[in-house]
């Protein structure tokens, strides 16, 4: 796999709501190696997008604490000019909503041209255009020279996502962050985009962070997986371990709550309660404990930490040891009691 190109230590990203700050990303540490695809999976509001934005330095510095080492250099605490040299060149980002991620009043060609120009203004306009057309071709756009002059709204969702990808890989970055790159797309388009990402991974040898809520996408794409819940990473493992031997109650519940096309389930597992909103996050103890009330409270740690249970397999909190799924019979009697 190679050396880590990204190492994050104790990252904390907070947002201000009214008069208080709330941490959307709390105590996150992880590494990404060259040639490796790390998937970050979680439900909406778990902080996965805030994490991606923090790595790219897209949140105001005042909101971000901790260290982010990119190729050994702490990019959480460098000047904006230095950061701009890295962004778009050595670090690329693919956004979720391709329609809003592209400037509606600018042709596709100019938008990709811009990222090349910013990092290499010595290249002649003509050469840049050639390069842009090559890039469009590489991401599977059928008529690159024509698309060069089109506006974003003239393309289909799938085509636009390809443009966004072309932009992200234009300068062959060493780290690529893809924030839900296929969520807005139809399944058949999704599979095409995922295949494209796989191909690019082999081509540019970058480290990739793939952010998604879709466990199927994770199973298909990832080398390693980090599961996030309520701003924290609750489990990290390589993809096979995670799917075959998940330990954290949240990971296990999540895997059980998805309709699985391989097995017939009469009923899906339901995670009780709701995903807490940023202001209502439990700040102490195991953040998942309110959703598994049947597990004895003594099973949780006071200050849950990530434990390395097997080499490379980390789990937060000790509650996984005592976790079990409640018996089914408990489920169906609710509206009798009131």
């Amino acid at each position: 796999m190679g050396n880590p190109i990204l190492e994050i230590e104790n990252l904390r990203t907070s947002f201000r709501i009214k008069d208080n700050y709330y941490a959307a990303v709390d105590d996150v540490s992880l590494t990404v190696k060259k040639n490796e695809l790390l998937a970050i999976v979680g439900e909406s509001g778990c902080g996965k997008s805030a994490l991606a934005f923090s790595i790219m330095g897209l949140h105001s510095k005042a909101n971000v604490e901790g260290n982010i080492y990119f190729k050994g250099r702490d990019i959480a605490n460098i000047s904006p000019a230095k950061l701009n040299e890295l962004r778009g060149k050595e670090m690329g980002m693919i956004f979720q909503d391709s329609l809003s991620a592209l400037n509606p009043l600018m042709i596709i060609g100019d938008q990709i041209d811009e990222i090349i120009y910013i990092h290499n203004n010595k290249l002649a306009k003509k050469d840049r255009k050639e390069k842009v057309i090559d890039l469009l071709d590489k991401v599977g756009i059928l008529h690159p020279a024509f698309t060069y002059n089109q506006f974003p709204h003239e393309l289909s969702g799938g085509m636009r996502q390809r443009v966004v990808i072309a932009m992200a890989i234009a300068n062959e970055p060493e780290l690529l962050i893809a924030d839900e790159p296929t969520t807005a797309l139809d399944v058949t388009i999704q599979s095409q985009i995922l295949d494209l990402l796989k191909k690019l991974k082999e081509d540019i040898h970058a480290g990739i962070i793939l952010i998604t809520h879709d466990l199927g996408v994770v199973a298909e794409m990832a080398d390693r997986v980090a599961v996030m819940y309520a701003g924290q990473i609750v489990e990290i493992a390589d993809v096979y371990t995670l799917f075959e031997n998940p330990l954290h109650p949240y990971t296990r519940s999540l895997l059980n709550s998805v309709p699985n096309s391989n097995v017939v389930q009469s009923e899906l597992h339901v995670i009780e309660g709701i995903v807490p909103s940023l202001q209502n996050l439990p700040r102490e103890g195991c953040r998942f404990s309110p959703r598994i009330p049947w597990v004895d409270s003594s099973a949780h740690e006071k200050n849950p930490e990530l434990h390395e249970v097997n080499p490379g397999h980390f789990v937060r909190c000790t509650c996984y040891r005592n976790f079990y799924f409640p018996e089914k019979s408990k489920g169906d009697q609710h509206h009798v009691v009131s």
Binding site: S191, L215, E220, S257
Partner: protein
Amino acid sequence: MSFLEVKNLKVHFPITGGLLGRTIDHVKAVDGVSFSIEKGKTYGLVGESGSGKTTTGRAIIGLNKITSGNVLFDGQDITNLRRSKMSARRDIQMIFQDPYSTLNPKKRVFDIVAEPLRNYENLSKREEKKRVQELLELVGLSPESIHKYPHEFSGGQRQRIGIARAIALKPKLIIADEPVSALDVSVQAQVLNFMQKIQKELGLTYLFISHDLGIIKHMCDRIGIMYKGRYVEEGTPEDIFTNPQHIYSRRLVAAIPDIDPRKREQQLQFRRTVKEEYEQSYNDYFDDKGLAYQLQPVSDTHLVALPGRG
């Protein structure tokens, strides 16, 4: 005899243009769809965006005007029946996709759930309140929350309020248009399980519209796949998932990511084969406008849109 029967349903939307807003062309959102649903079963309608699945559901309940074709419900023709004569229609209700826009933000939960009751049943204030509270309990919300506004609830809870409203009149058929697409995975499971439970308890029939094949497979007894306003294949989950016949269905099935990382290579291979096959035999499966042919039976339960004979 089938409970809901849709015969050669067409919904065409005019495209207007020019100075006087003349009709230049039509979008054939639904273009000759026939299927039937049996009582107490769940029928799944799958397709990608623009396939016409949602329009089909909306046409059945009367939200889109039917251009031609018939909808028979419990033996009665309800095609384009005006809403003012909806007493025949109270048996069909709908669950919508977006939990945020489906509830009027200015109304309290009580008024939202009571709306259908006020339209069809003359209840006293007290009876009405009792009914609403019962319904809320049925969907697992505390009956005391009737004076709250929708924005005080989470997505899953709102979707349950929508369901409470839909079952208030004790309907027989529920059209569920992507009921869980906007929800998180864990909340999806809550709503899906809940839908199955009330189906048993109230003897409901579902028309379940979704783009998610995994959910469709989990929920449905029979599945229809739509593409550009037409059916390409119809059958039992078994037929569709283990023996898809139409090239489009096969492509759709191949596109679902497998949840087992060990099958990754196999899946990729499968997808490549299907893709090649799709490109090669596209013209065999679609007419010169890129539309599907008429459905032909290939077994007792399985129909596929194949060229020829029709």
